[in-house]
């Protein structure tokens, strides 16, 4: 009897412990912590962020940071905090994150939420000479809330990761189309908001928040899923994007600055697409690519009727843009390519680097033609008929400035470049490039003339750099050797690498990020190349395949079994028709 009693008690205790454990596993501490952290961060956004008047170039910061009104960096912190609260609350209501990826998403939101206020304080203290005592409790509380969310996310990571994200399957064309439209409109909106955020400190917050949100969406597999509709409706997606970019100058209300920056980004897209052929398709690392950009620019400058020049040849711009400049640079591409054909990858890199320097120094020294270090300036805008494209035009009450017209011209060039690139990649030449990249000896054994194929890659890459350079000369109205240094070669390479080698949309994204970021952070321009070098190192370390990798590149650069298995699984799925 006593025995049975004791077992009952034991069972009861066991039940209680079990129930407690079950309860505990349902209401896990991290699950509770996440929305609490979000709530704390929201509260932090409503506290004082500065206690005293902090002067920025004589203008007090008080206006939007001491008041409860929202402006400045705390707007972006608040958005992240609300997102954390909402997502943490959602996970709490669902009791359990189904996969570790949800925890990862939460962690990324939290990390962003921690970094935004901390970064704001760091910039305030280091760049604006503010005292730590002038900073209110707001950023500290927000950062603490963010850290709580981050820790909560980390705590949820132990859930099974779940299946790798997949592309969303076709439901109907309408759904796919709607997804494409919504995503592109949101992206365009984010772009416009980014341009509208003027204060560099606030922009830093905006950028970090955007990165965190993007990272969170990426861990939830949203981007991978969206790739489905975008692949299926690629022509529609590209057309819509082109329309949005055509509309862009209309949104700037006559303010030309950001149109000019976008036009510069457009040129880098063309140049980077060209480099992508050399590095991405053919696998030849070219570190002197800026030479072709420069030669194209000087060609256009010398034939463009410039005011301050030693050469007075005038060739119509259309001819220069589409024929003369690209062919001249393609010729130099072959000239550089010819002696380097026998070289292995690393030697090639250093020889191309030397070539870039040779061209720059030559431009600097050949005073008789290039006017030496002064360069050629006052290059007029090209004219079509009697209309100088620098004058812009008016349409439906909107004035489109000259650099808007340049932007349209570049969209046309990008379209041409993309068309040629895709056609080339699908051709015998494109396949030969890939073969040479993968294994030169095997490619030669298969009957590919590797000499011609490599020269073609150099020529094609140089061709597009020449086009971009020609527009660049007119857009900036001047050329000088200082504009074509090694740093620009690295910049274009970084655009290709950051965006994703071998993937044109990625290249475009890379160009936009790397041209806009320095302009936006002009206040910190001293350190921008420092950040740039650091970013290259980190990028190679943590995401070598770039932000928007092509599937093939991703496999090559990651080369982990997991990815390879996933890929072959997909292949299998396609074959078996499921």
């Amino acid at each position: 009897m006593s025995a049975s009693a004791s077992t009952t008690v034991a069972r009861r205790e066991g039940d209680r412990a079990e129930a407690l454990a079950r309860l505990w596993s349902r209401v896990r501490l991290p699950l509770v912590a996440a929305p609490v952290g979000g709530l704390v961060a929201v509260a932090g956004c409503y506290l004082y962020w500065t206690l005293a008047t902090i002067l920025v170039e004589g203008v007090p910061l008080t206006g939007f940071l001491v008041d409860f009104g929202f402006g400045g960096v705390r707007r972006w912190a608040l958005l992240l905090a609300i997102a954390s609260l909402a997502y943490g609350g959602f996970l709490l209501l669902r009791r359990q994150p189904r996969t570790g990826r949800q925890g990862e998403a939460l962690a990324r939101l939290g990390l962003g939420l921690t970094v935004v206020p901390l970064l704001w304080m760091v910039t305030l203290v280091t760049f604006l000479n503010a005292e730590l005592s002038q900073i209110g409790p707001g950023p500290w509380v927000t950062a603490a809330g963010g850290a709580l969310v981050w820790l909560a996310g980390r705590g949820l990571l132990d859930a099974p990761l779940g299946a790798a994200p997949e592309e969303w399957p076709r439901r109907s064309v309408l759904v796919d189309g709607a997804l494409v439209v919504v995503v592109e409109l949101v992206a365009f909106g984010v772009f416009l908001v980014g341009i509208a955020v003027d204060d560099p400190g606030e922009f830093l917050g905006f950028f970090v928040a955007l990165t965190a949100a993007g990272g969170a969406l990426a861990s939830l597999g949203i981007f991978k899923g969206l790739a489905g509709p975008f692949y299926r409706l690629d022509a529609f997606a590209i057309a819509l994007l082109a329309v949005l970019l055509l509309l862009f100058p209309f949104t700037q209300a006559g303010n030309t600055f950001w149109i000019q920056v976008t036009a510069q980004a457009g040129l880098f897209v063309v140049a980077a697409l060209g480099l992508n052929i050399v590095v991405g398709s053919a696998g030849l690392l070219d570190l002197g690519y800026v030479a072709f950009f420069g030669i194209g620019a000087y060609t256009a400058a010398l034939t463009g009727n410039a005011l301050l020049t030693n050469v007075n040849v005038h060739i119509p711009f259309v001819l220069v843009l589409l024929v003369v400049a690209p062919l001249v640079t393609a010729f130099f591409g072959v000239l550089l390519g010819a002696p380097t054909l026998r070289l292995r990858g690393d030697y090639l890199a250093i020889v191309t680097l030397g070539f870039g320097e040779i061209v720059r120094i030559t431009l600097n020294n050949a005073d008789a033609i290039t006017r030496g270090p002064n360069g050629i300036s006052s290059i007029p805008d090209p004219t079509v008929g009697g209309w100088s494209i620098g004058d812009g035009f008016s349409l439906a009450g909107f004035d489109i400035p000259g650099n808007g017209v340049y932007l349209y011209l570049e969209l046309l060039l990008i379209a041409i470049t993309l068309f040629v690139m895709y056609r080339l990649n699908d051709s015998r030449i494109g396949r030969a490039w890939i073969a040479v990249r993968e294994d030169e000896v095997a490619a030669a054994a298969m009957g590919i003339n590797t000499t011609v194929i490599k020269l073609l890659a150099f020529a094609a890459g140089a061709f597009f750099a020449g086009m971009a350079g020609a527009v660049n000369a007119h857009l900036l109205t001047q050329v000088s050797p200082d504009s074509y240094t090694f740093a620009i070669s690295v910049l274009i390479l970084a655009i290709v690498v950051l965006g994703g080698i071998g993937n044109p949309p990625g290249v475009a994204l890379g160009a936009i990020i790397l041209t806009f970021l320095p302009e936006k952070l002009r206040e910190f321009s001293d350190i921008r190349f420092l950040v740039f070098g650091f970013a290259l190192v980190l990028m190679m370390r943590f995401r070598p395949e770039g932000l928007l990798p092509s599937a093939r590149r991703r496999r090559e650069l990651r080369a982990t079994d997991e990815v390879a298995v996933a890929e072959s699984q997909q292949l299998f799925d396609i074959r078996s028709g499921t």
Binding site: P339, G345, I350, I358, N365, V497, G533, V537, R541
Partner: protein
Amino acid sequence: MDELIQQLANGVTKGSYYALIALGYTMVYGIIQLINFAHGEVFMLGAFIGLWTFNLGVSAFGWGGTSVVALVVVLLVAALATPVIGVSLERFAYRPLRHAPRLAPLITALGASFLLQQAVAVFYTRGQLQFPDLFPSTSFQIGGASIQLLWVFMVTVALVLTLALTLFIRTTRLGKAMRATAEDPDTARLMGINVDVIIALTFVIGSALAGVGGVLAGMYLGQINFFMGFIAGLKAFTAAVLGGIGNIAGAVLGAFLLGILETFGAAYLGGQWQDVFAFCVLILVLVFRPTGLLGERVSA
């Protein structure tokens, strides 16, 4: 004739610090097949560390003018501090990418080069800095050419260090391990060699030599800036290729040869074409003898 000797002496002196940088390039390339773009920056940092050490010495011990103690201390500190940079680069930037495709570490090296250069530019100075004359500026005459004692010192240091390095690689256990790793890292690992340590050691030696080179170049050129490592590094790599990369004797030979060729090129074509001349030499060598003058050979 006097002119000839003068140019020759200039060229050989220049070659001596190219050689000290080229050794690091060639050893690292020989062992992990990576063009360590940041190596030129290690050289530049060597010069800056030398200058800081000297300034510290001036304020702490009242160094002034030329002194043997100052010279030795500055050289030693530069040689001891630069390996920290080199090894950090290896540990945090290159090692994680050792099995990645070749493009990845190369781009990392470029990024690291930018990072180091800009770190000096941002946190210290973008301007030219005067480098102190640590060495007595006496000179003597050979024929009609005026040769500075410093130049003799530089060439001697370069040659002695090269000799020491060669002996180290040929005769010591570590040197043997280094050769084995360069030959075949996987087999070396099977033979019980700690490949990671050997690679780190390569960076230590290479960086120390570049650090010494930086101080010598500072004394030779009289002024230093954050950008000096870029062109010097490029030249040194050219020299390593010229002699046959991976080959220590080749790197030194290539460096002296490049220094001499460049000086003569500058004298007869005009100084502004000096760099163009050096790179043309590089391209010509690679076209006609891609393995360099002495051929590619694994360390020693």
